[in-house]
Each structure stands twice: as C-alpha cells, then as structure tokens.
C-alpha cells in the first residue's frame, strides 16, 4: 500500500443511485471519493481539476458516454487509472475501452467484494 493517504476516486454515472452505491462501497473500504460526475464531459473536466488516483466510468450516459470520456481522460493523462462500469451485452464497447487504455472493468450488477477485487489491484 502506498503511504498513509486514502486513494482518491472520481465516480461517473448518470444514475444517482449507482453513484451512491459505488461511493458507499468504496468509502467503506478506505477509498476517498473526491468527486462525482453525471456524464463523461463533466468527468473529463473534473479529472483535470481533482486529479484523482482512480476514475470509474459508466458506459451509457447522456452528453458524453464512458468510452468517449475514457479517451478524453487518457488524452489528458496517459497513466490515468480508469475502471469501466459496464452492463451485460456491452462486450464490444468494453473491448474497445481496453484497447483505448481502460485499466479494467466491472459488470453490473456488482457486489462489494467484486468492486474490491478490482480496486485492490490498482
């Protein structure tokens, strides 16, 4: 584990419920949620300002979807750690996300243990 500071996370999802669930699970396990975004455009903006350690991106969002946001964030910071939150049936998009540099992905609906397994390795 690096240092004594909590890892900072930016959560992106257009559904308040999903943001809340993810936030609750992560905060319970020692992560600090430094920001939330309702769509990819806001996520990219907030990334520049907040400089989180990890970003989660839902795929289906209005204004700018997760894949676009991923590309933008990677353009801002090559080494950004991005986790895609996908739904079943979105294999193609997830693959493209991997190619575009996503660090990993989680499939909805997910449980707390699942989230942790992914986040522990970041």
């Amino acid at each position: 584990m690096e240092g004594l500071f909590l890892k900072k996370v930016l959560i992106t999802d257009d559904a308040a419920f999903m943001r809340f669930s993810l936030k609750t699970m992560l905060e319970r396990n020692g992560f600090e949620i430094v920001g939330e975004a309702e769509n990819g455009a806001i996520a990219a903006e907030k990334y520049k300002i907040l400089k989180p350690d990890i970003v989660t991106l839902d795929i289906t969002m209005p204004v700018m979807d997760g894949l676009q946001a991923l590309k933008q964030i990677k353009a801002i910071d090559k080494s950004a750690k991005v986790i895609m939150i996908s739904a079943m049936g979105q294999e193609g998009i997830v693959r493209e996300a991997i190619i575009s540099g996503a660090t990993g992905f989680i499939v909805k609906p997910f449980k707390e243990e699942t989230i942790l397994k992914v986040f522990e390795k970041l």
Partner: protein, 691 residues
Amino acid sequence: MPEDGVVREPMLEIYLFEATQLMEQLEEISIECEKNRKISTEAINEIFRIMHTIKSSSAMMMFNNIAVLAHSLEDLFYFIRESKAINIDFEKLFDLVLLGIDFIKGEVSKIENDCDADGLSEPLVLKSSNLLQDMKKANGVIIKDDCQAKKEDTKYYISSYEKLGSEIKQKYLARIFYEDGCEMENVRAYTVVHNLKEIASEMYHIPEDIIESDDSVETIRRDGFLIGFSTLTSKEKVEEQLNEIVFLKELELKQVEEYPLELKVLKAKIEINLEKAISEESVFEKRSDKLDINKEEVANIIKSGKQQSIISVNISKLDMLLDLVGEIVISEAMVTKNPDLEGMTLDNFNKASRQLRKLTNELQDVVMSIRMVPVSMTFHKMNRIVRDMSKKLNKEVELVIIGEDTEVDKNIIDHISDPLMHLVRNSLDHGLEDKEERIAASKPPMGKITLEAKNAGGDVFIIVSDDGRGLDRGKIYEKAKLQGLVTKPEGELTDKEIFSCILLPGFSTNESVTEFSGRGVGMDVVKKNIDSIGGAISIESLMGRGSTISIKIPLTLAIIDGLEVAVGTSKYTIPITSIRESFKPKENDVIADSEGNEMIMIRGQAYAIHRLHRIFNIDTEVTSSNKGIMVMVEDNTKVACLFVDSLIGEQQVVVKALPTYIKKAKGIAGCTILGDGNISLIIDVSGILDR
C-alpha cells in the same frame, strides 16, 4: 415519500427517489411520442437510458422482477434504435410501456410502504418479447437462432516486436481460470491478450474467438483460457504480470519447449491480421452519443427532469430549517420589541435591530424559496390521466397547461395532486361531451381541459377549466334541496353559492355512478384537502359552455402577514390576505334585522357583522360600535365585517398549529407568539364567516 418516523436505508431511499423520477419522465415522453406518432432519436436514447438505469439499479437492489421487465423493454428500444425501425405500432408499443411503468410504480409503492415487491412481471416480459418478435418481422429482420460468426473479422494479435534480435525468447503456456460470477470472461481474456501483446512476440489461444463468439465464455469457464506465447521477459516477471489479473482464480504457468498440439494447429491456420488502431470510422461510432439537437417537446421534458447542479435534500431537513427560521423571527421580535426597552432612547440599538430585521427577512425569503417547487410535475401527471380516460371514454380531449413554472411550497404540492386528479377526472367524465354531442352543439369535436397556475398576491391560483356542458344550476339546486343541504329559495342564492353545493358531502347529481366518479364522495374530499392547507375553492360555470374551478392556496403555510387586533386583553391576528379594509364605524351605520343579526351599510352594500368579543366570549368595555374598529374581511364566497376593540399593527407572524390537546376551535386557524411574549390567536376567516 417516507412517512413520519420511518427512516430508510439511504441507498434504498435514493433508489426509490430516482426510480419514481425516472418513471415520471418516461411516462411523459411516452405519452408525447404516442401522441405525435413519432419517436425522435433523442426520445429513443432517453427511453433506452431510463430502462437501462432502472435495470441496473433494480438488479443491484435485488428487485429482480423490475430488473427483468426493464431489461425486456430495453431490448425493445435497443432494436428500434439499432434497426432504425419505421414500422412501429405506436399504440401497442406505448400501451406496453405504460403498463410497464404502472407495474414498476406499483412495486416502488409497495417498497415505500415496507411491503414486499412481489409483483410478477413475467406476463409483461412475455408481452414485450412477443412485441419485439412482431416488430422484427414487420421491419424485415429475419429471426435466426444464433448470430452468424463472421470469421473474416476475427482478429489475431501479432506483436510488432517480432524481430527483436538474437536474444533468447522463451515459450510459455498459461491456463487462466476466472472467479465465478465475474462475467464477460471472453472480454477479460481479451484484456489478457491485449496486455500480453506488450511483451509477447506471438500468441495463440483457445478459445480462438474471444471477440465475436459468446460461446467462448462457456469454454473459458469450463476449461480455462489457454494461451501459448513467446517472450523475452523473465518467468518471474511474466508470472507477476499474470497474477495481477483481476478475478484470477487459478493460474497454471509453465515454460515449454513446444506448444501443445491444439495451439500448433492454430498457428498453422492463422490469418495474420494486424490489429488496427480503432479509428473514428469504427462500427462503434454509431453508439456514441451524437447529441441530436432536435428542439422538440421531448427535449423540454428531458431538461425538466435532468437538471445539473441540483442536490436533493431530505424534506425533513427543510422542515426543520423552516421551523428554526420561524423561531428566529419570533426571537428577533422578542428582542427588538422587548418590554424592558420601553421608553428608552435607543438610536444605535434601533439601527442595529433594523439591520437584524432585514437579515432575518432575507433568511426567511431564501428558506421559503428552497421549499418552493414548480407545479409542473404535478400538472404533467395529469397527462396520463387524460390519455387513459379519453381512450376509455372514447372522447377526444386536449390538455392545455399554462403557468407550470409557478412555484408552490413543497408541503402544499403534495396536497393538491389528488384534488387536481379528481377535478380533471370529473371534467373528462361528466363535463366534456362526446364527439357527436359537441358537433351537434357547434363546438370543436376535441374537448379542451385547461390547467392554469398563477400567482396573485400572497396566494397561488390553480384553475381547472373545461369547455364542456357546464353545470346545471337548476338541477344542482333541486338535488341540494332534496338532500336538505339548502334552505333558502333558489332565487336568493348566487350562482357561486349554488355551485358550491357540489362540494358538500353526500352530494351527487349523477344518475349513474361510473368507474371514475359519481359516488358523491369526491368533491367534498377535494374541499377537505384544500381546506386543510388553508385554501379555498370557487366554482363558475356557463351552461353549454363549460366550467371553471378555481383553487386558491396560500404561498406558504408557515409565515403570514397579519394584522394584530385587540379584543379585551386578548390579541388576535387576522391574515392580511383576507382583509379588504378597516374603519371606525358610526353608530347609525349599524342596523339589526328581525332576527337580531347585525349589519352595516358601506357604500350601499350591506355586510354582516361578527363581534369577536361575543364569538370568543371576551370581557371588554368596547361594545358599542362607534368605540371599536370594523375590519372588513372576505373568504371565498362571503364578505363581512369583524368588530374588534382596536388595531395594534401589521405583523409578520409564524403560524403554529394549535396544540393537539386543544380541540379544534371554530374560527381559530392557529396561534403565534408575539414579540412581547404574548400569545395571539390567528383568526380563521372562513370559520367565522360560516356562522
């Protein structure tokens, strides 16, 4: 909305709130699309997004019946979007969507009331998949059981580091097993391949097709993911990298001289296809959200539901805040009007207290405004009712909404929803004639119901009007007489008075009780609801032309502008909004009729007098008319004069309900504490005038 005292888990709270909001949005969009017989790109995306969100959230919360239904509807709209289907049976489609919305709303309601969400969504899911099949047929899609594997697109990965000189490359064989339930194992395998590309100069894997085929998921779950690759990287480093795989259950890694047979076969078959950087022209672009800047009504509906920089606050916190602000207003008065300060010269103090007053006023304004919500949500709910009922009754009806941005206290909005629904139903059921009747009466065949909201002084007016057949004054009077609800002869009653008979309990002129209305338990409940928030209803109508029902509701329940009056040693507050004027009467202006009721003539009109000291049994020396003050007040239907000892002054007061251990006193709406610490009772003007 949680009942008092029920504290739910925050996650459930948010789920319920969002689900309700999304269902309302979806309902609006659906009705709009159905009406226009068109689904814009933006609408499809929005509907899809809503279904997708409900599906995910419901699955997370383990409400699987809802999740499954949302999924099937999502599939429906996914098809419409991807195939750009044009042959759509709008009625069937949106009938289904609305049924789905009703189901989900029902389940949400059960959950809100701490019951199990045990509804069965299977019938609707079946309906949905059948509709999807029908749509596919209607739009020329050949239904196949399995998707065609496009072999030529299958990609194989060859690293660009092929010729790295004469260093010794080592062949490895890895078999990867993933944890149960991590899902999309084929994509995870793809990730491994993608990451290994950096260090491997060749790679062969089984299953081969981890892009197109869904069967590979099963193979990987059963046999693991087998990769043979060649690299310069040391075994430790390779093992380290592979052990970092997320959801790794088991890893078998060994150095090999030769690849096993099955991989050798693969190597021979391979078509070398260098991985292209996915360019902008990729097929996935279709899915990217190119915002359709299509300024349709749909955009407005979406905007109204989806506002950025807004946070949702628990209503109980706002109630507490408002209470506190109320207490501050009282405290401020108690400080600045303190009896201790009487007679003192307090220039600086007065200056400071004026500033304090200004600030508390501002604070009050801001808190009030936080609690204000536009009536639009409530008004738009009526769209659904109009749609459903007009279908059932076979009447063509148009709903016109005016002034939906008008704001009303959140507390109040909840109380007007049901009354509004009832009034709209009434108009549809009884007010509006069917097409033939309308045409025969030279009216446009489409009936019109107008919902209007507007501000007027300290009140908000909500007006429901229709251009139907109007109210029959004679019939209403007859029925009222029959029920013993009126005593005066018809000629002596104004239209307004007769029409307001329909608000009395037990009244109903309908010969037939319909599914929607007519049992005579509707209008009086409406009145009760409106009364409970301090509002008033008045009814106007023209035979053959239509009816208009106006509901006046106070902007806020909590703080009102009042006129302080004295009666004996007691103090009373009369709401300013009810006051027309006040004056000192002359002895001769007061006349009594044969029954001893007192009246006063003002500018040729006679007004009844209500002596507060008599009504409330107060000892006072001010009994003769010319020694006291008359305050002319009005409620919805009547105007009269209240006789008091003297006027004290205008005062803003915080309305406190009468303590529950005191029975409801007629004529008293509540109480408040004045600056000098005394209690003042707030007059319920309607209650007094009804005597």
